[in-house]
C-alpha cells in the first residue's frame, strides 16, 4: 500500500480529496485500534512476563521485555508457599456461594418472571437497588452478628455474607432468562396435564440451563473477586482467600514482585476464562427457535 496521491487537478478536486480523506480515516482507525489493544492487554501481558522473569531481570531500569529463561518454577514455589491453601479457600467459598445463591435465586427469578406475586414491582426495585448499595453500609452490623455467632474467621461466615450481594444479582439475571422462555411452551405443558412443578422440571429447567450457567458464573466471579468482607471477617492467615492474600503480599516490604505477579496470574486466570465464556453465552439467543423452528 503506497500513499501516493495523484496531484489534484483543479477541476476534479472532490474525488481524490475524498479518497485521501477515506485513507486517512482508515489509517487513523487502525492506529486507534492498535493503541486500544495495547492499552487493554499490556498490563496483563506484563503481569505474565514479570511472573516468569528471573529475579535479576525484574528490577531493571530499562525493562527486559523477554525473559532470558522463563521461570515456570515460580508458580510451583508460589503454590507451595501456602497459596494452594488460599486457592482452596477461594474455591470453596465461591462454589458454596454459587450453589446456594443460584438455587435460591432460580426459585425467586422464576416466580417473578412467571407467576403473579403481589408486590412484584417493588420486589424488582429492591433487587435492583441492592446492587447499588455500598458494602460499607452492611459490613458493620454483619460484622457484629458474625462475631456474636462465632462466624468470624470462618468460611461459612464469608459464604453467608456473600449471599447478601450475589443473591439479588442472580435473581435479576435469572428473572430475565425465565422471562425470555416463551410462555406458550409452559402453557402447552399445563394444558397437556402437567402440574406446575412438572412443567418447570420438563420445560423450564432444560431451557433455562444456559441462564443458570450464566448466573452461576456471575455469582462465582463476584464471590471469587470479593475483597472487603474477606479482609474484614477473616484474620486467620490459613483461612484467607486469594484477594486478601495477594493484597497482604503486596503490602509486605521487599516482596518478590515475580511471586506477586504469579499470584495475580493464578487469581486472574480462572475468572477471565469464565468471563469470556459467559459473554458468548449471554449473547447467543438461547431460545431463539424453540417456538416455531
Amino acid at each position: 500500500m503506497t500513499a501516493i496521491t495523484p496531484p489534484a487537478a483543479p477541476a476534479g478536486t472532490t474525488r481524490p480529496a475524498r479518497r485521501t480523506q477515506a485513507r486517512v480515516v482508515t489509517v487513523l482507525t487502525y492506529a486507534a485500534a492498535l493503541v486500544l489493544g495495547a492499552f487493554s492487554v499490556a498490563p496483563l501481558v506484563w503481569m505474565v512476563l514479570t511472573s516468569i522473569k528471573p529475579r535479576a531481570e525484574i528490577l531493571t531500569r530499562d525493562p527486559v521485555f523477554w525473559p532470558s529463561e522463563p521461570q515456570w518454577g515460580r508458580y510451583v514455589d508460589v503454590l507451595e508457599r501456602g497459596f494452594s491453601g488460599y486457592l482452596t479457600n477461594s474455591l470453596t467459598v465461591a462454589a458454596a456461594t454459587t450453589v446456594l445463591g443460584v438455587t435460591v435465586a432460580a426459585l425467586a427469578g422464576y416466580s417473578l418472571a412467571r407467576l403473579q406475586v403481589g408486590l412484584k414491582r417493588y420486589l424488582l426495585l429492591v433487587v435492583l437497588a441492592t446492587q447499588m448499595f455500598p458494602m460499607v453500609v452492611l459490613i458493620i452490623p454483619l460484622f457484629a452478628v458474625m462475631r456474636n455467632l462465632g462466624l468470624l474467621d470462618s468460611l461459612v461466615g464469608l459464604v453467608i455474607a456473600y449471599l447478601s450481594f450475589t443473591t439479588p444479582l442472580a435473581v435479576w439475571i435469572l428473572r430475565g432468562f425465565f422471562a425470555s422462555i416463551p410462555d406458550d411452551l409452559e402453557d402447552a405443558a399445563l394444558v397437556d396435564g402437567c402440574t406446575r412443578f412438572g412443567a418447570i422440571r420438563r420445560i423450564v429447567v432444560p431451557l433455562a440451563g444456559p441462564g443458570i450457567a450464566a448466573s452461576s458464573i456471575f455469582v462465582f466471579i463476584a464471590a471469587w473477586n470479593e475483597f472487603l468482607f474477606a479482609l474484614t471477617f477473616v484474620k486467620q492467615d490459613s483461612l484467607r482467600t486469594l484477594p486478601v492474600a495477594l493484597q497482604s503480599l503486596v503490602g509486605r516490604a521487599g516482596a518478590d514482585n515475580g511471586a506477586i505477579m504469579a499470584t495475580s496470574v493464578l487469581f486472574t486466570l480462572p475468572v477471565v476464562v469464565f468471563f469470556l465464556l459467559v459473554h458468548r453465552r449471554m449473547t447467543s439467543g438461547m431460545v431463539a427457535g424453540a417456538v416455531k423452528g
Partner: protein, 330 residues
C-alpha cells in the same frame, strides 16, 4: 402488564381416566391445585430469597442507621449497652476538616473517573462500530480489563507505576518526559489519585463501550442511510442521529458509573491504603478505617449512612431512568 394465567377450560384438571367415582373429590383437588399453583407456589418460591435479602441487607441497613445515633465501641457493638448520642456523630463528621476533605475528594475523584470512563467508552464504542480487520479480536481483548479482578488489576498497575522499575515511568521518559525519571506516584495526593483513576477507568470503560456498541448496532440502518443521502457527513450523523438516539442509554451508563465510582474501595486499599498520611482516603476507605481500625462504629455508621444517602439519590435517578427506558413491569 402481567399475563393472566388461565386454566385450560373444559378439560379435566388431572389425569382422571374413567372419571367414575372421583366427582366431588376431583373438583376439590382441582381447586386446591389451582390455589397452590397460583397463590401458594409463587410466594413459596420467592420466600427464601426474600428472607436472605431482608436478613442480609434490610436488617444491616436499619441497624447501621440505628448505630449512627449511638456511641459504639467494640464491646458495645457486640454486647449491647451503647449510649444514645443523637446527631453528634453526624455533627462530628460535618465539623471535622479531614472528613470534609474526604467528601470533596470522593466526589471529585468519582466524577473524574466517570468522565474518563464515559469519554473513553464512547470513543471505543464508536471505533468498534467501524468496519476494520481484527475488529472481532479487539472486541475480545477489550473485555480483558473488565474481566480482571479489581485487586489483581490494582496490584499489577501498582507495579506498572513503580517509581524505579515501572513500565509507565519508563514509557513516559522514552517519549521525552524526562521529569518522570524515577517519579514516585504514590507519595502525594494528586499523582496517587491519577494512578488509581487510571486503573478504575481501565477496568470500567469496557462495560460502557460494549453497552454503547450494542446500542449503536441497534440503531436502524435506514435512519443513518437517510441522513447520509440528505448529505450528512459522519460527524453530523454522530452528532445529530447517533448521540440523540443513545441518550437514554448514555444517561443510564453515567448513573451506573457514578454509583460504582463513588463506592470504590479495593483499588484504593491495594494501591495506597488511603495513605500517605490519609491523603488518598475516599469515603468507603474512611468508613472502614473508622470502624475496623479506630473501632468507632457509631461514627463509621454515620459515614456509611451519609454515603448511603448520596448513593440512594443517584439510585432513585437510575431507577427512574431504567423504568422510562424499558419499563420494569414486564
Amino acid at each position: 402488564m402481567t399475563s393472566t394465567r388461565t386454566r385450560p377450560l373444559g378439560r379435566p384438571a388431572g389425569p382422571t381416566p374413567g372419571g367414575r367415582g372421583t366427582g366431588g373429590s376431583g373438583r376439590g383437588r382441582r381447586w386446591s391445585r389451582h390455589w397452590f399453583d397460583n397463590r401458594a407456589l409463587p410466594r413459596l418460591l420467592v420466600a427464601p430469597a426474600l428472607l436472605l435479602i431482608f436478613a442480609l441487607i434490610g436488617y444491616p441497613v436499619a441497624r447501621t442507621l440505628w448505630l449512627s445515633f449511638h456511641d459504639a465501641g467494640l464491646p458495645a457493638l457486640t454486647g449491647g449497652g451503647m449510649d444514645f448520642v443523637g446527631l453528634s456523630n453526624y455533627t462530628d463528621i460535618a465539623t471535622d476538616p479531614q472528613m470534609r476533605r474526604v467528601f470533596v475528594t470522593t466526589v471529585v475523584f468519582g466524577l473524574a473517573c466517570v468522565v474518563g470512563t464515559m469519554v473513553l467508552g464512547i470513543a471505543v464504542a464508536l471505533l468498534l462500530n467501524r468496519p476494520f480487520r481484527g475488529r472481532a479480536l479487539l472486541g475480545v481483548l477489550v473485555l480483558l480489563p473488565w474481566a480482571m479482578p479489581k485487586v489483581a488489576a490494582a496490584t499489577v498497575w501498582r507495579w506498572l507505576f513503580h517509581d524505579q522499575y515501572g513500565l509507565v515511568n519508563w514509557g513516559l521518559v522514552s517519549v521525552g518526559f524526562s521529569s518522570f525519571e524515577g517519579y514516585a506516584w504514590f507519595v502525594s495526593r494528586v499523582p496517587a489519585f491519577t494512578a488509581i483513576g487510571v486503573v478504575v477507568v481501565w477496568q470500567s470503560f469496557p462495560f460502557v463501550a460494549l453497552s454503547l456498541l450494542a446500542g449503536l448496532q441497534s440503531i436502524a440502518d435506514d435512519v443513518v442511510d437517510a441522513a447520509r443521502i440528505d448529505g450528512a457527513g459522519p460527524w453530523q450523523v454522530t452528532r445529530h442521529i447517533t448521540l440523540p438516539l443513545l441518550k437514554p442509554l448514555l444517561l443510564v451508563l453515567v448513573v451506573i458509573s457514578t454509583i460504582w465510582d463513588f463506592k470504590i474501595f479495593d483499588q484504593v486499599y491495594v494501591m495506597t491504603q488511603g495513605g500517605p498520611a490519609r491523603s488518598t482516603e475516599v469515603l468507603s476507605i474512611t468508613t472502614w478505617r473508622e470502624a475496623f481500625t479506630q473501632l468507632d462504629f457509631g461514627l463509621a455508621s454515620a459515614l456509611a449512612m451519609a454515603m448511603f444517602a448520596i448513593l440512594s439519590v443517584i439510585t432513585v435517578v437510575y431507577i427512574r431512568l431504567v423504568r422510562e427506558d424499558q419499563g420494569l413491569s414486564r
